[in-house]
């Protein structure tokens, strides 16, 4: 099913519609952070924790596609292979396939599938670069940001945008020098950040994911964040935001698909393309002209 989504198979859309009403109960966790800070290893340890609570866990590990060949090496699950034969754990790797934002629409679709399959906790792992964080805030209930000591640059990256969205900060590899300094810096930044929309106080936790140290605390922190959201009626609010964002991205995709299909078969479009090539029309005017011609909105409708 996820394969059909990735390949944008026409039948997947209808199937998703059937699944969507059954996909509302999962707790969705986003884990992001720079490459090499130990996201996959941390997730591996988190799976163990959640399995001890007898939760069904699904993991969606998103890795970048090569911009040159379109291929990808999906290696996150190497760190999680010990869970491969646990039937209550489902690990799926996904290539970003060149979509901006780090998280593809297919990711959101896949979350719907996992949730409908009855997975109680869904963990999404993304490369925390650029825009990805903003996307993940629209998919996940809780966001964990992973960094490691001495990664001054890592914290800089965090500062650039995700600070507002992070609910739990994890300083991994905390047996390394300067771990406490990183914790301190993060705590300061959290203090300084403009009051978030809720009263949730972001936590900074230390872990050594490789041997499991501190991971139980991280799992507990995620669960207590989820409880906090439930107790403060934030879940519905979040769901509305998620649905709106999903709706927007679906709209964009569907319109584009339709538009390109139309353009492929339209003589008028071919003519305009030729005019651009010959220089008699500039691309800006051409795009404006086409869109105005094709999409007409009626007011009061």
């Amino acid at each position: 099913m996820i394969r059909l989504i990735e390949d944008n198979d026409p039948t997947s859309f209808e199937k998703l519609k059937l699944l969507y009403p059954h996909a509302s109960n999962a707790f969705i966790i986003g884990i992001t952070g720079s490459p090499g800070v130990g996201k996959s290893t941390l997730i591996d340890a988190l799976i163990t924790q959640f399995r001890e609570l007898d939760k069904k866990v699904a993991i969606l590990a998103v890795d970048p596609s090569s911009p040159f060949s379109g291929g990808a090496i999906l290696g996150d699950r190497i760190r999680m292979q010990r869970h491969a034969t646990d039937e209550k754990v489902f690990i799926r790797s996904m290539a970003s396939r060149g979509q901006k934002g780090g998280l593809s629409r297919a990711t959101k679709d896949a979350v719907v599938v996992f949730s409908a399959m009855g997975y109680e906790i869904i963990i999404i792992e993304t490369v925390g670069a650029g825009q990805a964080e903003f996307d993940i805030a629209n998919i996940a209930h809780s966001i964990g940001i992973v960094t490691s000591p001495g990664a001054g640059d890592g914290i800089q990256a965090v500062k650039a945008g995700i600070l507002e969205t992070g609910d739990i900060f994890i300083v991994n590899k905390s047996d390394k020098l300067d771990a406490d300094a990183s914790v301190h810096q993060l705590n300061m930044m959290i203090e300084m950040r403009k009051s978030s929309k809720t009263n949730w106080k972001a936590q900074v936790l230390k872990t050594i994911a490789q041997n499991g140290t501190g991971v139980k605390e991280v799992a507990d922190a995620f669960l207590s964040h989820f409880d906090f959201m439930k107790n403060n009626n934030l879940i519905d609010q979040k769901r509305n935001a998620m649905e709106k964002s999903y709706f927007n991205s679906l709209l964009k995709d569907l319109i584009l698909e339709k538009l390109f299909l139309y353009m492929k078969n339209s003589e008028a479009c071919k003519k305009i393309e030729k005019e651009i090539q010959s220089g008699s029309m500039d691309p800006l005017s051409a795009a404006e002209f086409l869109v105005n011609k094709l999409i007409v909105f009626k007011n009061n409708e």
């Binding site: 996820i2 394969r3 990735e6 390949d7 944008n8 596609s65 090569s66 040159f68 060949s69 379109g70 291929g71 990808a72 090496i73 999906l74 290696g75 699950r77 190497i78 292979q81 491969a84 034969t85 489902f90 690990i91 799926r92 790797s93 290539a95 396939r97 060149g98 979509q99 995709d253 584009l256 698909e257």
Partner: protein, 132 residues
């Protein structure tokens, strides 16, 4: 939006053989040929390989075997693939494979065999051919 179907490949090393340079380099070559490669690492049990192939919905399982156990491993894995309903998944085997074993492997149902020394070009061409 990208709609072209990608070939998804699982590269796995079953058992105790710890030489994964070759597997990693082949994984890179396949990526450069535009495929999505799931690399599951060393010391995989056959159960892990089957589960991974199922969850990752791959088109190809590529085993890398240097231990000499390619015949029993392939035979067992093919039986397990049938049991799990992975009928549309192709199995390929690479590594240290004596030439006289190639026909035996193919008879079992291995789609392609890439013994040491096979060029990337040949591997990629044969992989693509499986889906023409």
């Amino acid at each position: 939006m990208e709609t072209k179907n990608k070939i998804r490949v699982l590269i796995a090393k079953p058992g105790l053989d710890g030489h994964d340079k070759g597997a990693k380099i082949v994984a890179l070559a396949l990526r450069d040929a535009g495929m999505e490669v799931i690399y599951s690492g060393l010391h995989q049990t056959l159960e892990q390989i089957i589960q991974t192939a199922t969850q990752e919905s791959v088109d190809v399982i590529g085993l890398s075997i240097m231990s000499g156990a390619h015949l029993p491993i392939s035979e067992k894995l093919i039986a397990m693939m049938k049991e799990q309903g992975l009928d549309n998944v192709n199995l390929t085997v690479g590594g240290v494979i004596p030439f006289q074993d190639i026909p035996k492997l193919k008879e079992m149902g291995v789609a392609e065999v890439f013994p040491g020394g096979t060029s990337f070009k040949d591997i990629i061409t044969s992989m693509n051919k499986l889906f023409e």
